[in-house]
């Protein structure tokens, strides 16, 4: 809802395409996983209404685009390309070569695919095939091939400061991530300026770092696809990393490459679409892009800005702190939000973001002690979301192939071989690990209409009345919640929007100390489900604290 409204507003602003025009083509220079750029990408496609959308991504995975954009594919998920080791190297411990292309709801690439699908526009990947990327990497190297992309930190592991850090420090920011957030993510209302800034940044990166051989091949390969598409350039939208866009803009750039390049002769790769998780996404800082806090930026994407994400996170923190056994109230959330806004003003930022959220939470909730808020806050910022994809949507991998370990555990149908394949919608929900609303303070009920219905709460064993009440409350919240939030923000009032009453209810149940409270049951159910998805240990640890302590029973002897 929020998303649609936000996009409509953007479309009105962007009467002309905000894209950067390079040789006639509408180029959208992106940083992966950026809500602001994702929004701008959608705005460009809506404004241009192109005939073809080309997206940086392995072009041997084009047959999977339908599956990636299917309505029941719930992000985050990843396109995973893999190859079993070559026969001559195949020893017992030889791992298959694997490369992930993760997507979340605010990945510009995925937004481009989805928007194109919605408008009935043809969309294709145009980067070198995944097999070439696999070939280009050392077998044991862990970074994805896009690690060569901009903007990210090319020397993440190197001790000397990178260009990214130097720029950030010189401008008075603590980290490159903070700088990015302040300068780019806050440009929500002016996509043309945003894309221009990103383009300039890409040019700086190319100037400073040059273009590697592999990148030169990729650039030429991508532009050749533009040229050979048979579509006039002004009818094409090209969504590529900022450094690639910068390379295209260089006056001496030519789309020339050797079609017999050894990388392009590599053995073919297999693909699978696999659920991905926010914790995994947050581990890939080097992969570059505003995903140090996937859930926080998910909120920014869904609620239309960093300020609303800050408000949502701080509001959820109330329940999270209570579950941890701390005293917290909405008064704390109100003060924390005010403080975050004050801090942003003091730091010369247009709106509060990740750093302000943390600082404000420490001062208002943590009594100055970072450790007290660390666990719940980290959970709220990084999030626990696991995507889901439907097994039957994409071709099953060949049984003779070695399945990479990730695919094996995370694949929804692989987890429960003994069960018959569930009917599709239910399966999607099963594979998605829902935290109980109380634990993660999930306000998903605000915008995810089917939370609480169907499988989740009833499966958790909550009494029917409680479920009905929770669902009812969620409905009420859905009707008013999102809009309230925006209105409050617009009016500058600091009333936090209501947290999902379902969440409050569950939390209340656990506080009342009923050993069979809804939260406990929900937690148990989630543990069960999490265990199925191979995340049992983590889930168990997570719920150790909130579990109410049983009173010692005195033995009458």
């Amino acid at each position: 809802m929020a998303r649609v409204a936000g996009d409509a507003a953007l479309a009105e602003v962007a009467v002309e395409s905000p894209a950067v025009r390079i040789r006639g083509v509408h180029v959208v220079p992106v940083r992966h996983h950026s809500p602001a750029i994702a929004r701008a990408t959608a705005a460009v496609i809506r404004a241009v209404r192109p005939r073809l959308v080309l997206i940086e991504g392995p072009d041997d995975a084009n047959h999977l685009i339908d599956a990636l954009t299917a309505p029941d594919a719930v992000a985050p998920f990843a396109l995973l390309a893999y190859r079993p080791p070559e026969v001559k190297q195949a020893t017992a411990d030889a791992a298959p070569q694997v490369v992930f292309y993760p997507f979340c709801d605010y990945s510009p690439e995925l937004v481009a695919l989805r928007t194109a699908r919605e408008l009935g526009i043809e969309a294709r990947f145009c980067d070198i095939p995944a097999r070439a990327s696999l070939e280009a990497r050392e077998p044991d190297e862990q970074t994805p091939p896009d690690a060569d992309d901009a903007p990210h930190d090319p020397t993440a592991d190197a001790p000397e400061p990178s260009l990214y850090d130097i720029v950030a420090q010189r401008l008075g920011f603590q980290s490159h991530e903070e700088w990015w957030e302040c300068l780019y993510e806050s440009c929500l209302r002016d996509p043309a300026r945003l894309l221009q800034l990103v383009q300039e940044w890409g040019e700086l990166v190319v100037q400073a770092g040059g273009i590697s051989d592999c990148d030169a091949l990729r650039n030429a390969y991508m532009w050749r696809q533009v040229e050979e598409s048979g579509v006039p350039p002004e009818r094409i939208v090209l969504v590529v990393g900022a450094a690639h866009a910068a390379a295209f803009a260089q006056p001496d750039f030519r789309a020339e490459y050797d079609p017999k390049h050894p990388l392009l002769q590599a053995r073919p790769a297999e693909f699978v679409i696999t659920p991905y998780s926010f914790p995994r996404l947050s581990e890939q800082l080097g992969y570059g892009a505003g995903n140090r806090a996937p859930q926080f930026y998910q909120d920014a994407w869904e609620l239309g800005g960093l300020e609303n994400a800050t408000l949502a996170t701080l509001t959820r923190l109330v329940n999270a702190m209570k579950l941890q056994g701390d005293v917290a109230s909405h008064a704390d959330a109100i003060e924390a939000f005010r403080l975050a806004k004050q801090l942003a003003a003091l730091r010369g930022k247009p709106e509060p973001g990740y750093d302000e959220t943390i600082d404000a939470a420490i001062a208002a909730f943590g009594r100055g002690n970072a450790e007290r808020v660390q666990t719940p806050l980290k959970r709220l910022l990084i999030g626990e979301r696991v995507g889901s994809v439907l097994a039957h949507r994409h071709p099953a991998p060949h049984p003779s192939r070695v399945l990479p370990p990730h695919a094996r555990t995370a694949h929804p149908r692989q987890g429960r071989p003994d069960r018959p394949a569930p009917e599709p919608r239910r399966a999607a929900r099963r594979a998605t690990v829902h935290l109980p609303a109380s634990a993660a303070g999930r306000q998903d009920s605000v915008r995810r209409p089917d939370f609480g219905r169907g499988g989740d709460l009833s499966a958790a064993g909550a009494p029917a009345g409680e479920v009905a009440a929770a669902v009812d409350a969620a409905d009420r919240c859905r009707a008013g919640g999102g809009d309230d939030l925006r209105q409050h923000a617009a009016r500058g009032r600091h009333t936090p929007y209501r947290p999902a009453p379902a969440a409050a209810r569950l939390a209340g149940a656990s506080e009342r100390g009923g050993a069979g409270g809804g939260a406990v049951r929900a937690a148990r159910a989630v543990r069960r489900r999490a265990a199925c998805a191979g995340r049992g240990v983590r889930a168990r640890r997570r719920f150790r604290q909130p579990r109410p302590r049983r009173l010692p029973t005195r033995r009458a002897d």
């Binding site: 603590q174 005293v327 109230s329 008064a331 704390d332 003060e335 005010r338 403080l339 004050q342 801090l343 003003a345 003091l346 730091r347 010369g348 750093d355 600082d359 404000a360 420490i362 001062a363 208002a364 943590g366 009594r367 100055g368 002690n369």
Partner: protein, 362 residues
């Protein structure tokens, strides 16, 4: 400045008058109601700014100071917590000096603090003569701050009885004090806020009622663990103290480095490289203590030595600083000299070494 000459320690707004004036002239940013400077200028005042020739008042984490300033611009009060000697009162004084030009509305929390000192009391002679009137009312610093829309400071709040602390609750949430004797409620003007300090050593903030805790944003001022940062603090503060006392002394880098190293290693219970365990004394080895040791050393050298402060001067003060509470703390120091200092090279380390015999005779 005659005030500085006349008094031992002038308040921050007097000492830093020039800096505050420079900042005021520079400041074009919006100011919260009742503030003399914008939050950004206040930050510059605390953290220093070479361009405007503002000395840093606090050396350490800028983010925490920003949180403190932003808190004061909101409706919550600020509680600075931390170990003894981590510049809590110092920051509190300078914050109020910069924000409202007055750092003197201070309540010193002690076991003997009563509610009167937080709210108001009476001039009993006048009370007997006139009954309760405005003239006979003696406002507390907090009430004065409320009337003038300025900042009240509450030092060592956790030292008072928690019933007394709770007198602040209604002040902080309703921003008003009822004076039933005058049939009146005094409302705070905008700009009023409270900066309290509490140290985590003596009586923790856990003894505060949660109702009161909820009315504060907490900012913890950490013990400095960075050698260079702590050296900078020790040097700057000692120089300031020397200037206050119209004294001159050379403070060699080597001496400061050695002194701060000793403090950090004893505090952390291990050597800086993490190779060797060190016995930690029970005393708080605060930065403020290091400053006073060095300044004391300077005094010794000036009045009883040749004017050049050395390791032996410092050591004589160090003993007093460490062995405050427990004789066994002295053993920690002896052991440190025998095991760690012995291996170190340099003039000052050698001078520390040479005091061993004297130390044993204590």
């Amino acid at each position: 400045m005659s005030a500085v000459d006349a008094v031992i320690r002038a308040p921050a707004e007097v000492r830093c008058k020039d800096e505050l004036e420079r900042l005021h002239a520079w400041d074009t940013f919006p100011k919260p109601t009742g503030w003399r400077l914008s939050p950004r200028a206040v930050e510059k005042f605390i953290m220093g700014d070479p361009d405007l020739n503002i000395r840093p008042k606090y050396i350490g984490d800028r983010d925490r100071i920003q949180v403190a300033i932003a808190t004061l611009a909101s409706d919550r009060a600020l509680l600075l917590v931390g170990e003894p000697g981590t510049a809590k009162s110092w920051v509190s004084e300078h914050l109020s000096a910069a924000i409202c030009g007055n750092s003197q509305l201070t309540v010193q929390g002690t076991a003997g603090t009563t509610e009167d000192q937080i709210k108001y009391s009476w001039n009993y002679a006048l009370l007997m003569a006139e009954g309760p009137t405005d003239r006979s009312l003696v406002p507390s610093p907090v009430l004065t701050a409320m009337r003038t829309g300025t900042i009240a400071r509450f030092e060592e709040i956790t030292r008072c009885a928690s019933e007394v602390q709770d007198a602040l609750i209604s002040i902080l949430s309703e921003k008003a004090i009822a004076i039933p004797e005058l049939e009146r409620i005094e409302y705070a003007r905008r700009g009023f806020s409270v900066i309290a300090t509490a140290n985590t050593r003596d009586r923790g903030v856990n003894e505060m009622s949660s109702a009161l805790k909820r009315r504060f944003n907490f900012v913890e001022l950490p013990v400095l663990s960075d050698l260079q940062q702590e050296m900078a603090v020790v040097r700057q503060r000692t120089q300031e103290m020397l200037a206050d006392h119209a004294m001159q002394a050379d403070l060699p880098d080597e001496l400061i480095e050695t002194l701060v190293t000793v403090f950090q290693e004893l505090r952390q219970g291990q050597t800086l490289d993490g190779e060797q365990k060190v016995k930690s004394p029970s005393t708080v080895m605060s930065t403020a203590e290091a400053v006073s040791v060095l300044f004391g050393g300077c005094l010794l050298a000036t009045h009883f030595g040749d004017g050049v402060v050395n390791g032996q001067h410092v050591m004589r003060l160090l003993v007093g600083a460490i062995a405050k509470e427990d004789k066994s703390d002295l053993e920690a120091l002896t052991e440190y000299l025998e095991t760690v200092a012995k291996k170190r090279e340099g003039r000052v380390w050698r001078e520390l070494q040479e005091t061993q015999r004297w130390l044993k005779s204590l």
